[in-house]
Symmetry: C2
Subunit: 328 residues, 2 copies
């Protein structure tokens, strides 16, 4: 594989000139630039990014560590991050921590070792330690879930308020007893959505809560259990769209129809939400915008890391559809 010296030899110049020419430094004779470019092309020269980055002490890649590639909420975030990174010439590498603290640690280590320019992170737990990054000066922005230290930027959604409003919406539409199906304890969004739910039901009726992995299978079992243990339940607040799949499966198994028999509101506006009958009422989060904003903050901080930490709180929006009204 051709190196810069091969190109230099072929073009009859020094490696320094090749470097300058290829990187568009102004101070090079146009004639030489042309010669260098031709030599590079003839040799099929591809710069060695490792050597370059080692020398420059910086890379143009961002790491995005999310907890579930198969969750549309996170892939939308990924699109947002990617689109803005792209415009600034950064590549983004996506790492799937799988809601697993060990995997997350490993990817965090990889991020340091590969000296990425910055990382966007959706922490699996509150205990995530990003000191290895920040200690080295690598900026980190947390998305969807806060980072313990409170150091660094974060872009979150006011998910507790959204959960309270969604629960209130159900209560205001004639449902008498709302249950909450949420994610694992310790996952901040799961806890916040539960808290919002509690805010709304307190003083109205006892709380009915089930927790499971943020996955369909767990949510299905939890719902089945809930329905059996608490038959008075006539509405459900579901903490994300992946769980919603399991919840809807469980309802179907019990012959319960969303809306009429059991009101349902789920977080995240999945693409299929309007296909089911009745269509699913959702709390839509601005996922793409979360990613885009996180990338903007990260880029800004890569350029200038002296400013204080920022906290951006985006709003979620209730989209009322058929699954939360009793008509029909």
């Amino acid at each position: 594989m051709a190196t810069i010296s091969d190109v230099a030899a072929r073009a009859g110049v020094s490696t320094a000139t090749v470097s300058r020419a290829l990187n568009g430094k102004s101070t090079v004779d146009p004639a030489l630039v042309a010669k260098v470019q031709q030599a590079a092309a003839e040799l099929g020269y591809q710069p060695n990014g490792l050597a370059r980055n080692l020398r420059r002490q910086e890379t143009a890649v961002l790491a995005l560590i999310i907890s579930d590639v198969e969750n549309p909420f996170f892939t939308s975030i990924a699109r947002g991050v990617e689109d803005v990174a792209q415009t600034s010439g950064y590549s983004v590498v996506l790492c799937n921590s799988d809601e697993n603290a060990d995997k997350e640690r490993r990817y965090l280590d990889v991020a340091v070792q590969e000296r990425v320019a910055g990382v966007v992170l959706s922490p699996t737990g509150t205990e995530t330690d990003v000191a290895v990054l920040t200690g080295r000066g690598t900026p980190v922005v947390a998305v969807d879930r806060p980072l313990a230290g409170g150091t660094g930027d974060q872009v979150l959604v006011d998910t507790r308020r959204a959960a309270r409003e969604a629960t209130g919406h159900l209560l205001g539409h004639g449902y008498r007893r709302v249950a909450c199906v949420t994610g694992p304890s310790g996952v901040r969004t799961a806890d916040d959505r539960l808290a919002g739910y509690r805010d709304a039901v307190v003083g109205v009726h006892d709380e009915v809560v089930r927790r499971a992995e943020y996955k369909a299978a767990g949510a299905r079992r939890a719902t089945l259990d809930l329905l059996d243990a608490d038959p008075g339940t006539d509405a459900l607040l579901v903490a994300n769209s992946t769980m919603a799949i399991g919840v809807l499966e469980a309802l179907a198994e019990r012959g319960l129809r969303p809306g009429r028999d059991v009101g349902v509101v789920a977080f995240d506006d999945a693409p299929w939400a309007t296909l089911i009958d009745p269509p699913l009422t959702v709390v839509a989060q601005p996922a793409y915008e979360i990613g885009a904003e996180a990338a903007r903050l990260l880029l800004a901080r890569i350029a200038d890391n002296t400013r204080g930490p920022t906290a951006t709180l985006l709003d979620a929006r209730l989209i009322e559809r058929g699954s939360s009204v009793q008509s029909s």
Copy 2:
């Protein structure tokens, strides 16, 4: 940030010993190993992966370039790749080419420049040129779609046959006129599924075909147009699950019920396929297994690149559900 010499100084040994100790080379005095490890820990030493890789002339990262992170089919592949890579100590970075040849090129260049160990690629077009990789000895395995040269491993699905069978299934269940909604011309899976459709309808009735981006919005418009232009259509073969969303939206807009009014079979068993009423008949592809197998092949080839190219053909399976039977 601490370097290997800092650790060496603190432990009172040479950098070579530090390197050996930290990399678990057998030939180091256990006492020294301990001293080195302690020094490293005290300094919060994190090896510089760039320097290491530059020196070693190799990296332990695989690139996975797919055309749509938001398509569950591809994210399942990603899971498959990741799971097997993980077990061999490789990290995988996910790049989203967005079905765009330019972006794909850029990521291919990044892959060369960062000297990744290998790449799993779902080519956007038939013209994708991976010579930059292969010329350098970087193995490439194609998934879902073949690579022009025929060089390198590939793991594909017999999608043409699957499309033929699915179309035959519709024809065998009383539908008289089946249309095909597929992806853009030049995208191999889109063309193959169309070919399979043609295999089945030829001699039975004229073909009715619409093409659109592999996205919901385009498929919706295409379906609306198709329904207007060819009202005799009573069944639809849809080339992927993302398009299926648009197709089902269009059907709903026209007041047409899947199964009874219009038979529907779509590629890819999306998680929501059983939630709609009637549930969606699908052609399930072994996406996870495609990714896992691709990663295995890639790893094998990284270890030994002398064997000839292989072609793995996996089977898709028709899962018959309510949307393709006229009952009710």
